[in-house]
């Protein structure tokens, strides 16, 4: 099966797009917003106004397009890399900022944002996504669908495998998105696995597999829509491999120069999703200077307000360290809490 692509890297010479103008604009806005946040986050980190941060430059279409396919009541299950998916799914920017500032409030996502927390231990989110999907079926006629993200490196963990198998056995309404961005820190996909077509794993499990150009927002969105529809209809899970590239360092603490040829990276960066989306939408006349400027202004405003909210977060009370261990504080936590000045 060929890799699904609607808009080539050039952003030109493409056929009819299976999205409405409204959708295309919505997709542009969300992608531009994701890019904007990432760029500002990196700057904020350099200024010491964020902690260590995991940038996602180049992966916006893979995250935004798939997340846009979710409907009300659906769940997002992200790894640490999915800030773009998270803010697309409704996580307020202020919340993302507080998270990357390591502020406890950053970990407390609002109740109405149906997403699990960012996951640090690789692949461990995968079985949770399956359970969450099965849980929906127990409670609703029309089940919620779960969209779970993992990286190419993450596919090597046992949890990836166990979750794929469980999902298939229980026909869980879940869509697994593998963002194949070429790297797991310094390890290229070719050293991570012998067959770099991750989508080829799907058949073995009896799971539907799709490979898309992960830098083509139209492709990621359309493929995810189909996968979500399948899941909702009870046709089981999909493994969606989104081919993309980690243009940025692994995190703001990483120096890719130690392990990869940054010339090659620059070349790959040319395939990035925003340039091509913008070119395509401009050629369609959907996007104009005016719209771009308006979007930009809105984003500046949104971020300004988000920073104000984040900056207003109260100082961290050390006693919070031992709160939320149990629903009701245990005697050992209470002892600690008092030692930490809790009142």
């Amino acid at each position: 099966m060929p890799t699904l692509q609607y808009v080539p890297p050039s952003g030109a010479e493409f056929g009819e797009l299976p999205l409405t103008t409204e959708e295309l604009l919505r997709g542009y806005r969300a992608t531009a917003r994701a890019r904007f946040f990432d760029e500002r986050a990196v700057t904020l980190q350099r200024q010491g106004r964020l902690g260590v941060y995991a940038p996602y430059r180049g992966q916006e279409a893979a995250q935004v397009g798939t997340t846009l396919a979710l409907e009300d009541g659906d769940w997002l299950v992200p790894s640490y890399r999915e800030t773009a998916a998270a803010i697309t799914h409704g996580l307020p920017l202020s919340q993302a900022i507080l998270y990357w500032r390591s502020h406890p409030a950053g970990w407390r996502f609002p109740d109405d944002v149906r997403m699990l927390p960012f996951y640090i231990p690789i692949a461990t989110q995968m079985p949770h996504a399956v359970g969450l999907a099965v849980a929906g079926r127990h409670q609703q006629e029309r089940p919620w669908v779960v969209l779970a993200f993992i990286g190419d490196g993450g596919t090597s963990e046992g949890d990836f495998h166990e979750a794929l198998n469980f999902a298939a056995v229980y026909k869980a309404p879940v869509v697994f998105v593998v963002q194949n961005n070429g790297w797991a820190i310094s390890t290229p996909t070719e050293r991570q696995m012998a067959n770099v077509r991750i989508v080829d794993r799907a058949t073995g499990y009896g799971v539907h597999g799709v490979r898309v150009d992960g830098n083509d927002l139209v492709a990621t969105w359309v493929a995810a829509k189909e996968a979500v529809a399948r899941a909702r209809a009870g046709e089981g899970p999909t493994l969606l491999e989104a081919m993309t590239y980690r243009i940025a360092p692994h995190t703001t603490s990483d120096d890719p120069g130690r392990y990869r040829d940054e010339e090659e990276s620059k070349r790959r960066a040319a395939e990035e999703p925003l340039v091509r989306l913008r070119a395509a939408l401009r050629s369609l006349g959907v996007l104009t200077d005016e719209v771009e400027a308006q979007v930009q202004a809105e984003l500046e405003q949104e971020l300004k307000e988000a920073l104000e909210v984040a900056d207003a977060a109260p100082d961290i009370d050390p006693a919070e360290i031992v709160e939320h261990v149990y629903a009701e504080m245990g005697p050992d936590q209470r002892m600690a809490w008092e030692a930490l000045g809790g009142r």
Partner: protein
């Protein structure tokens, strides 16, 4: 057997049942009371579990609520976490406690941390049941006692019952609990004793140790399969006029330090009994707390009677030399009474 259990809240006179039957009863009640309760694990469905703890429950509650899983413990615990996140109340069975190990990443990275790392947004009201311990000639690696590993992980509760009656009430409490509870069931006790157990739903409070036999000479701290061993030792000692106090810890985490300290302050002497390997066993924590909070009441060393610092032996004919017995407990008692 479970299929015949009359569910009633009245406590009627009933035939004595084994601990595994009591566990079955508890799960049947929970499944009946709350549609959010699900039960799953390897071979728990059609077969009713290798120890028959879930006997007939799939027939009664259907394949959607009581079901087999693939052979993957991380998947089982991970599935349960996801179910709990989605509003269910999962009970996962892991076939033997030694097979919890493949799930330890899910357990240590998530099960105990989820509430903390989401600052209270998500709780995981999940129970993980696993048979543990030795004494019944199980095959190699089927007799592990990994409670210390679990009790060291913040956010987990660890409960170990020592009788049919306690098992039922504690399991029902565990299922009701808003936090993840490990429920370790001593294989040795599954069928060793029958007890008339109250019908219907009842719970015992988690987080409380329990004096199962009061005494004044020495406090014996134990749990699960070691309780009967300590009770036997206490009976023997009583014949010689020495009254041992047997304290069943029941919940290892959160630990009921108050009851432990209170007992030892009265007796002045402590013997701690567990069948896990000695070094780093959970009993060390009990000793450490006594040594920190009640040392001035101690009239003797704190002595531990434990499994040795070796894997549980698969050499069935000599496994009783590994697992503490009344004789070894009494030797320790004599040591602290000199």
């Amino acid at each position: 057997m479970a299929a015949d259990v009359k569910v009633s809240t009245a406590e009627t006179a009933r035939a004595p049942i084994t601990m595994v039957q009591a566990i079955n009863e508890a799960m049947a009640l929970a499944l009946e009371r709350d549609p959010r309760v699900l039960l799953f694990g390897q071979d728990v469905g059609v077969m009713g579990g290798v120890f028959r703890a879930s006997d007939a429950l799939q027939q009664r509650f259907g394949e959607e609520r009581v079901f087999d899983t693939p052979l993957a413990e991380a998947g089982i615990v991970g599935l349960g976490i996801g179910l709990a996140l989605g509003g269910m109340r999962p009970i996962a069975e892991v076939q033997f406690a030694g097979f919890l190990y493949p799930a330890l990443d899910q357990i240590l990275s998530h099960l105990g941390r989820y509430r903390h790392r989401t600052r209270g947004r998500f709780s995981l009201p999940m129970v993980v049941r696993a048979p543990y311990g030795g004494g019944v000639h199980t095959p190699e690696q089927h007799a592990d006692s990994p409670e210390a590993v679990l009790a060291h992980a913040p956010g987990l509760k660890v409960v170990i019952p020592s009788s049919p009656e306690r098992a039922k009430g504690l399991l029902l409490a565990a299922i009701d609990d808003p936090d993840p509870v490990f429920f370790l069931e001593a294989i040795k006790l599954y069928r060793s004793e029958r007890q008339a157990v109250p019908a219907g739903h009842y719970t015992f409070e988690l987080g409380k140790a329990r004096i199962v036999r009061p005494g004044n000479a020495v406090s014996l701290f134990c749990y699960g399969g070691m309780v009967e061993v300590c009770m036997k030792a206490a009976e023997v000692a009583a014949r010689e006029g020495v009254e041992l106090e047997v304290v069943d810890l029941e919940t290892l985490a959160p630990l009921d330090e108050a009851t432990i300290l209170d007992s030892v302050r009265r007796t002045g002497r402590a013997v701690i009994v567990y069948e896990a390997p000695r070094s780093g066993g959970f009993g060390a924590e009990v000793a450490a707390r006594i040594a920190e909070e009640a040392i001035y009441h101690l009239e003797a060393p704190i002595v531990r009677v434990t499994g040795w610092d070796a894997p549980y032996p698969p050499f069935t004919s000599v496994e009783h030399h590994y697992r503490p017995d009344a004789k070894r407990v009494l030797a320790a008692v004599r040591k602290v009474l000199v």
